[in-house]
């Protein structure tokens, strides 16, 4: 009996430890914020192409904190790169689908998408929704989705039609 209890405790510790290790590994690809040079903002409307790099990964010149910037995150069909981006309030993130697989960018938590502003998918994706722009693409496609972040904090997101693909937008 004591052996069973000990084995159970060991199993629980291993499971929780494994999950904790996996979670910590998810933050490895974090990128640092750097104000991009003038001209990278047009990437938000550029057509999706394979190999598009996030604009904040390129060295740039600080041109002033009040100038909104656009950062590009690329979806390759299974994951987002970079998986974590740091921006400032008022900056825009362009989620570019560089694959043939559909993408539906949405705030966590799957499937209700309530984390960004508290409203859920059924409310903020409704045709008669009149609130602030939700961090939710509200539909699957291969088109580029852009969103301007006005709320400071860490905003996890995922692909609603491939929930294993996740990322975070850290807004300072």
């Amino acid at each position: 009996m004591k052996t069973s209890i000990a084995l159970g405790i060991v199993a629980v510790v291993i499971i929780i430890g494994g999950i904790a290790l996996y979670s910590s590994g998810n933050t490895q690809s974090k990128t640092s914020y750097a104000t991009p040079t003038t001209g990278t903002e047009t990437q938000a409307t550029a057509p999706a192409t394979a190999g598009t790099k996030a604009s904040n990964s390129e060295p740039g010149t600080q041109t002033g904190a009040s100038v909104p910037k656009t950062v590009t995150v690329t979806y390759d069909g299974s994951s987002y790169s970079p998986s974590v981006v740091n921006i400032r309030t008022g900056d825009t993130v362009a989620f570019v689908d560089a694959s043939a697989n559909p993408m539906w960018v949405a705030s966590g938590v799957h499937p209700t998408h309530t984390l960004y502003d508290g409203s859920d998918t059924s409310a903020h994706c409704a045709a008669d929704y009149a609130g602030p722009a939700p961090f939710d693409e509200c539909g699957a496609s291969t088109a580029t989705y852009t969103f301007t972040f006005t709320e400071a904090g860490t905003h996890p997101y995922h692909n609603h039609v491939n929930a294993a693909a996740t990322g975070k937008v850290v807004v300072e």
Partner: protein, 119 residues
């Protein structure tokens, strides 16, 4: 004995519910569920067919567990399916963590049956 039967039924209902509710919800809101499938199964058949086939499997497992017939077998299958759901959705652990508990409960159900059979 009566307590044991109630426990047995409650555990079977608990497990069955975990398999009977998703197909109903997936029928009403398919996009809420299709995201849990791993990327490599998308495209083999349409997402609608995929959800339907998975739903039929879930209904079958759920009803089998409810029936109590050869309970160890559906319990083990349920545990494996739940473990796979967790493994393929580790990024959504804040949602699927309950499946770990359900999988272990299913294994307990299977193990309890085996122990009873051996007595």
């Amino acid at each position: 004995m009566a307590t044991s039967n109630v426990t047995n039924v409650l555990l079977r209902v608990a497990l069955a519910f975990a398999f009977l509710y998703p197909p109903v919800s997936a029928y009403l809101a398919p996009y809420d569920w299709i995201g849990y499938f791993p990327q490599f199964v998308h495209g083999i058949v349409s997402d609608t067919v995929l959800l339907s086939l998975w739903g039929l499997l879930e209904v079958g497992i759920g009803l089998w567990i409810l029936s109590g017939k050869r309970i160890a077998l559906p319990s083990v299958i349920a545990a494996i399916l739940l473990a796979l759901i967790v493994l393929f959705n580790l990024a959504q652990m804040e949602v699927v963590f309950r499946d770990v508990s359900l999988a272990l409960a299913a294994l307990a159900r299977a193990g309890a049956n085996r122990r009873t059979s051996m007595l």
